[in-house]
Each structure stands twice: as C-alpha cells, then as structure tokens.
Subunit: 528 residues, 2 copies
C-alpha cells in the first residue's frame, strides 16, 4: 500500500496477555479506510480551491462537539490513533484517481495530477490525548495544512472520532455507575453497525472502562480480554444427559480420573433436590467439579428480577458452602444481563444486589440513549486570518483563531476550568491569577489561581518535519488515562442526576477578539 | 447564518447509476469479517458440543425479529448477501486457531484439529429475498447444519442483518414519507459507527430507496450515485473575489472564452441587488453560467425555516426566469438539510414546501428514533426433534420446527397474510381456502383464499451440494425489489400514524403442534 512516506514511529499495543504487538503507523487497522472515505463535496471543493489557486492556502480547522451526550456534563475523547493512522496512510491510489475522474468529468486533468501528489506531509495534527475527559466547544483536535487537503480529512476524522468518543463516554458512564469493584463485559457485537462497528464498539468500550468483550476478533486484534457464558440454544440442544458420550474427567491435579462425571453430577443433584430454586443443576455440576479439584466460574441471570434473583443465588451458594463445607462456594460469580443500561445499573444499586459482573450489549454499543455525538470541523483561520462562523443560535458560533488550550487544576487536584487562548498569548502559570471568561456571555467571568496547568493540545502529526511528536500510546495506556481522568474530575460534574456543568472559558484577550470579529461580522486583523 | 442559502453550483451527479455490481461469492467486501468475528461463547459451546460428541448433530436455527422498528408495522430485510459471502469464506486460518488455543488453553488438541477442518460445506441457508418487506416472528433466514458450526454463524449473521435491516427500513420510511418525486441524499458518513458503519449505511440506505450518497468510497465500491453540495468553510475561506486567480471560463459549447467570469458574475449581482434575500450571490453565478451555456444545479438550505425559505427561493427563481427570460431558471433544484428526519419531512409536507431534494445524515444512519433491531437466532429443531423456547413473555416464545413460509396475496394484488407451515405440509394453493391461525392466541383465526402464493424462504447456500441455489442479485435489483415490495403492501400497513398490523399466522397443524409442545413443556415427536 502506498503512503508510508512518513517515517515509522512505533505504536505499541499492549494486551492483558502481556503480548506486545508492534506496528508501524501505516499499518491501518481497517483496509476500508482510504482517502475516498469522505464526502463527495470535499473533492468538489478541492477542485474549486485548486481552480481558484487557493488549494495551498494554510488553513486551521478545529474539531469539537457542541453538547455533552447522555444528559451529562462531560465526554471522553477517543479515535485519535485511527485519525493519525489515516493521515500517515493518506495517498490516493491510481485506480482511485481514475474513479474520481469518472465521477468528476468536468474537472481539468491538472487537478488529477495534483491529487496524485497529495499526501499529509504538510499537515499538522494537534490533539487532546486519547482517553481524556473533554467538554463542549474545546477543540479535541486542531488540524493545520493546505486547505484542500485538510478539508478532505474532515469527514474521515469526524467519522473516526464521533462514534469512538460517544461509545467511550457511554462505557465510562456505565463504569461510573457500576462502581470500580464490578466486572463489566461488553456483549454488543450483534447489535453494532456491522462488523467494523462491532470492532470499534469493543475497542472503545474497553477504553471507557469495560473489562472484557465477547468479540473474539476484537480480542485478537486489540488484545482485549475475552469473556462469555453460553446461550439458551446450548441447553435446549440436549435432549438428555444420555447424549454426553465422553463421561470421563481427569481431576485437576491429574492424579485420578472420574469415569462417569455425569453420574457424579447426578448424585450431587439428588442431594440438592430439597432446594426450591432453578439453580441446583448448576450447583450440582459445580460441586462435582469441586470434587475433582476444579472451580466453577459462576452463573448468568438473563431475565427476571435480577436484584432478587442475585440474592437468592447468593443465599444458595452460601448455604452450600456451609452445608457441604466447600470453601469459597459462596463467592461464586453472579453475572447479569438482559437489556441493561445506566438506569438499570443505578436502580440495581439503589435496591441492593449480589451481582458481580454485568454483560451489556444493545444499549452500550448502539448508544441507545443518544446514538449520535455532533462533532463538527470548523475553519478557524486561513492564511493567518481568523475566521468565525456566526449563527443566531449562539451554541453554533465557532471560536475563531488558532488556539492553545489549558486545563487548570485546583488545590485538591481536581480540574477547575479549561481555558482557550490565542496562539501567542503567554500561557497560564501556576500560582498566578488568570481571568477566565465565558466565550460569549459578558457577565460570566472568574479569576482562577491554578495549582497545576496542563496544556491539552499536543502534537501527534507533524508531516515530514523531523521535530518531535507524541508517540501513540498503547490501548492499555489510553484506558488507564481515561480511568485516571475520570478520577481527576470533581464528582459533582460526573454524577448522573443534575451534574454541575464544568466551565469552559477563553482568555480576556481572546474574548475581546471574538467579540470584535462578531461585531464587525467580517474577519479583520489577527489575535496578538 | 440562519436563513442563508448556501450557493451550490457544484452539485455533481455520479455517472455510475446504471453500473451493476455483480456479486461474486467468495470476494468478501470486508476483510475484517473472519470466523473470529463472533462471540467467545460460540467457541466455548462448540468445544462443549465437541466434547459431548454432539458437534455434528443436525440443527435448524431461525433468524427473526420480534417487534417492528420505529413504531411501524413492517421492516425491510437486508444483509443477506453479506451473510452468504461470510459462509462462502468461512474457514479458520492457522494463526486464528493459534489465537483460539491461547485463549482456550483448557481445550484438548483434538478440538483445534476439528476447527481446522470446519467450513460451511454442510450448511444450508434459506432466506427471504433481500429487499423484501418482512414482519415479526417470521424467519428471515433458516440456517441448517452441524450445531457447532451453525452456532458459530449466529453472531456474525445477526450482526450483518440487524443494522442492515434497521437502516434499510429507516430509509424506506423516509422514502415513503418524502414521496416518489423527491430526491433523497444520504449524507451520514460522519455520524456512522466508524468507516464500515458508514459503508453499510450508504449501501442499505440506497436499497431502502435513497437516490445517492455523499460517501465516495461507497460510490466506488457499490456503484451508488454520488452527490454533494459544499460546506460553510468553503465560503468563509474566501476573503474576497480577488483571491480567484484563474478567471477565464470557456463556454459550454467551446466556442468562446469569457476572460473574466468573476466580473460577469459581479455585473449580474449588481442587477440583483434590489432583491431582499440571501441568494443573489447564487443567482448571479447561475446567470453568469447561463450566459456561457452552463446550467447551475441549485441551492442548499441548511438552516432556518425550510418550508418558508424554499418558497422564497422558488419565487426568486421564477422572478428571475421572467425578468431575464431564462427558461427553466424557476425549476432550479432546492436541496434542504439540517437534522432532517421522518417527522420533519412529514411536517414539511403538511405545511407545503418547494424542496426538491433532501440531504439526511444523523437521524438516518444512526437510526436515532430506534438505534437497534432485536434480531434473534433460535434453535427450532435438532436431529429432527423440534425445539421451543418458552418464556412468561409470550413475545419471546419461539416457533418450533423447520418451517416453510408463504405470503398470500389477495385480489387487488396486496399481500394479505404470511403463513408458516411445517416442512412437509401441503403448501397453500391459489384459489383454495386455507386456515390461518395466530401462533399463540386461540381465538385469532381466519380463512383466506389466496389469489397468488409466494414462497418466501429460498435457498441461497447449499454447502457443497450441486443442487441449484438462488443467485445473489445486484444491488440495483435488491433496491428494485424493495421499491416494488413497498408498493405491494396495503397502504394502511405502511402509514406513519396508527398503521394496521399485518397478520402473521401459522397453519392449523403447526398451531396444534406448538401448543402440544408448549403444554408438554418438553419436546416430543415431530410435526408430520
């Protein structure tokens, strides 16, 4: 495949199995991700830029979202690695150019010659680290480069970030409500938007705090731990225990063989028949396994009153531990599934339950509660001229200028506010008071004295420059960042009910400039 | 800017509308679709079947959904071609087997030797033709084969059918409300679940009745017509017309060259300045193009009151046609976008509007109104023994037995009822009265005299048998079937508000057998 023009930074994808998969940037995870994976208008606009002689104009675009999803006050940024792989591989194949020529027959030959040479060697990508907690209006990515090329990146970048960030946020919300001690299993492959939707879901739910997936291909590709139970069909495919032909089972330590394990199970079952419950079958198998030194894993509750049934099951397990003196039997894992979502987890918590692990599919991967995050990609500067998008709807007004973003932390270690400044303003300094202004509302302003300052946008792609850029962290590290970021937020921003909005601000200088631009309704001058 | 008509002189229609993409079984469209794209439990159950010596047991599974989506009374079946490609390519690679061995270290070597030989040469797949209108409880697919292999197919089949059918249905609903005369454009790539989600969305929205997509990669892969407008960034990237360097434009017939097209536009603009509207810029360009023999395509309205603005625009176009004697100017295409969905299309219709084409993204591809279709895959027979899944919730009770499905049509050509029968029952006959019973409700029954009988399940995969199987139709043919099927339904089943439920029934014999099984709560005997 073409497009490995730019040298090989090393991507490390660490798995729980401690297996390390080394891959050059350039080994795209999805071969369907080509430069044609974009909206047609990006190519027709590229032609118009080219015709106008503007295609090399240096443009700066911000990728951001306008509103937090799921009625919450935060989101988690994800999808960056796939974007960087995309720019690293960005090169049109000859047959792709032929296709473009066939659908754009009115374009001059010179345009296709130009497309043949196009790559991302003059593009720069700055981004918030993947797995960060993020907020509306603050750029998740800032993309700079020739205007026609950066516009070609718009659709794939938004495609790669939108669902990734949405489902990571959804997973993180499930993690927060379930609590740290519970095991969360992603079971959503069959409800995702096709195969790659399923792969993305598994990857990003893991980043958002899930422990494992049922998706074997995702386990293989990303090193995510795999887990599963069994289906109803498995049970109903057996007419009777007579169908089990090989009945011998070697004991766990290999010292002896039970010649008829089925009979051993049946003898246990007869001892449990006094119990009024649906789970003696499981317990009989678990006890027979225990006789041979094996440890059963647990049960799955897939319908009915999960809270009640989990208590029932736990009581039975404890009773068996006591009655038959089987140490640890009471701690048998209870997994619950059946259309679970944030609300049901919350309700279970309020009611009390004995569930150890939750298997979540549909609501998680389809983001049922809100299936789209409205990421946008807006021009904020061209040829050093700031650009603003105005709208009667103030939430749709864009924040102009090439900007830097800082997160200011307070004494307790919590994040206090994000502040956007012009590119050349002096950055906020620890211990020094700085004015943070609401970008649009004159009256909303506060002075903050940060105890710690974190610059959010880092450079992940510098074209063919030799300057240092950030390495792409492994999936495990992205996940760890997400978990750590969730903890660095004040709990009232993160709670499900009536969370406090986190403040997003601009510097005094940027505020003044926005409003100067806004009033003039035409871009004039430059910030700083 | 609210109310601003975005000038869209560069709408491009793909030239590939008539191109038929012939599906060759064996060429998978998505290389990520491997046998590992399944839930772990399918492999652990396969091991258990193998250990029990049951893995070759002949099983029959039905794939169906339980409830129509979007509050409607129908769905459209899609995803079949991808399922057939999947079975045709079903073979585990050596490195995939190594991976399975690493995650299932407790399994005996013989199991992996077995997996190495596994393919779908003993599997049979029967399905309703892709693009058919379908209803709850009626199998969309019937899959027969060795139980362990068919279970491995469960997750990928449900994954491939679920979203495909859901988004096709969503697209069909948009088509029905928009009406046949309108152009529907799918603009959803950036809101889909990653790249492949976007590809699936484009493909299946086209099947469901959309005319074109903005997704260039989908245009190339599937031959779907491509369309687009331009973005706000394109407008705001220009500081002034002075930035346009190449100002010459050859006339359409090649007979002369306009040396300064920009000046020509500006001279037109000065004549239009009297008009109070946001679209004189577009009209000036369109009129200047007209001077040189070109025809502008139209405008896109992307915000504000679309009904009102479309009338305004139309009035201006008509006024210009009259004032400057430009034939056809009044028929300029008005495209509308901005978070459209079924409801907004319906509201626009009620209000009246002058929109010719709708660009729909987020609500269409995310299936915002209902982002999941609950397809299930249930065991209905094993070793010729019928199986039923019972549940306190009657909608979750499965219909046992290997079945045939017939759609009965009435005198007016509309479909009257779907009827499921046992495999060996005599099929319904034209002109002969047949009893159709509700599968679970004793009192619901009707006699029907069909004027036409269509057997719905056809054979699409017969393993390595040489018997004839259905060919996979081209995308165009699938789309045509969908359009034709939507017309063969009585309109009251298809309307948005309070649609009449379509009847799904079983034969008297199958009814009796279901209830015999249900009462015995254990499978006994066989139907016929």
């Amino acid at each position: 495949m073409a497009g490995k023009a730019v040298a090989a930074a090393v991507m490390v994808n660490g798995s729980v199995a401690e297996k390390e998969v080394l891959a050059e940037i350039g080994g795209a995870t999805n071969p369907m991700v080509t430069p044609l994976l974009t909206d047609l208008y990006q190519f027709t606009m590229a032609y118009a830029y080219w015709k106008a002689g503007k295609h090399q104009d240096r443009a700066v675009f911000d990728l951001y979202f306008r509103k937090n999803p799921f009625g919450g006050e935060y989101a988690v940024f994800a999808g960056l690695e796939e974007c960087i792989r995309f720019v690293a591989n960005f090169k049109l194949e000859e047959e792709e150019i032929s296709f473009l020529r066939s659908i754009m027959p009115m374009c001059e030959d010179g345009f296709f010659d130009y497309l043949r040479e196009v790559d991302c060697s003059n593009v720069e990508v700055y981004a918030v680290p993947e797995g960060s907690v993020v907020f509306p209006k603050v750029p998740l990515m800032r993309v700079e480069g020739p205007v026609s090329i950066v516009q070609l990146l718009e659709t794939p970048f938004v495609n790669l970030v939108n669902y990734a960030s949405l489902v990571t946020t959804n997973a993180a919300r499930h993690r927060l409500v379930a609590g740290k001690s519970k095991t969360l299993l992603e079971f959503g492959l069959r409800r995702a938007q096709g195969p790659d939707g399923g792969m993305s879901a598994s990857k990003y739910c893991y980043i958002g705090g899930f422990d494992a997936t049922s998706n074997v291909a995702a386990g293989k590709l990303f090193g995510i731990p795999l887990r599963g139970t069994h289906s109803h069909a498995f049970v109903s495919s057996f007419m009777s225990p007579d169908e089990i032909l090989d009945r011998a089972l070697l004991s766990h330590d290999g010292s002896s063989t039970c010649k008829d394990f089925v009979r051993l199970v049946q003898s246990w079952l007869s001892k449990l028949q006094v119990m009024k419950s649906g789970i003696p079958n499981f317990c009989a198998v678990a006890l027979a396994l225990n006789d041979l030194g094996y440890k059963a894993r647990g049960i799955r509750l897939d319908s009915g009153d999960l809270a009640y049934l989990s208590f029932e099951a736990r009581n039975i397990f404890h009773a068996i531990e006591k009655e038959f003196n089987v140490a640890g039997f009471g701690k048998m894992t209870v997994t619950a599934s059946n259309d679970l979502n944030e609300e049901t987890l919350d309700a279970l918590n309020k009611q009390g339950h004995e569930v150890d692990a939750f298997g979540i599919g549909t609501n998680l991967v389809t983001c049922y509660a809100q299936p789209a995050l409205g990421c946008v990609f807006k021009l904020v500067e061209i040829n050093n001229q700031p650009r603003i998008k105005l709208s009667e709807d103030v939430t749709k007004v864009s924040i102009p200028c090439k900007k830097r973003i800082f997160r200011l932390y307070g004494r307790e270690g919590y994040a206090l506010v994000d502040i956007m400044t012009g590119e050349n303003e002096p950055p906020p300094t620890v211990g020094e008071r700085i004015l943070c202004r609401h970008p649009f509302s004159e009256s909303k302003r506060a002075y903050v004295v940060p105890q710690h300052v974190e610059e959010l946008l880092k450079c992940y792609w510098l074209g063919n420059s030799s300057k240092r850029r950030e390495e792409l962290p492994s999936l495990e590290k992205i996940r760890a960042r997400c978990m750590q970021q969730l903890e660095q937020m004040r709990p009232d921003h993160m709670r499900r009910l009536n969370p406090t909005p986190y403040k997003v601000s601009v510097s005094g200088k940027l505020y003044d400039f926005i409003h100067f631009l806004w009033l003039s309704e035409a871009p004039v001058g430059e910030l700083q």
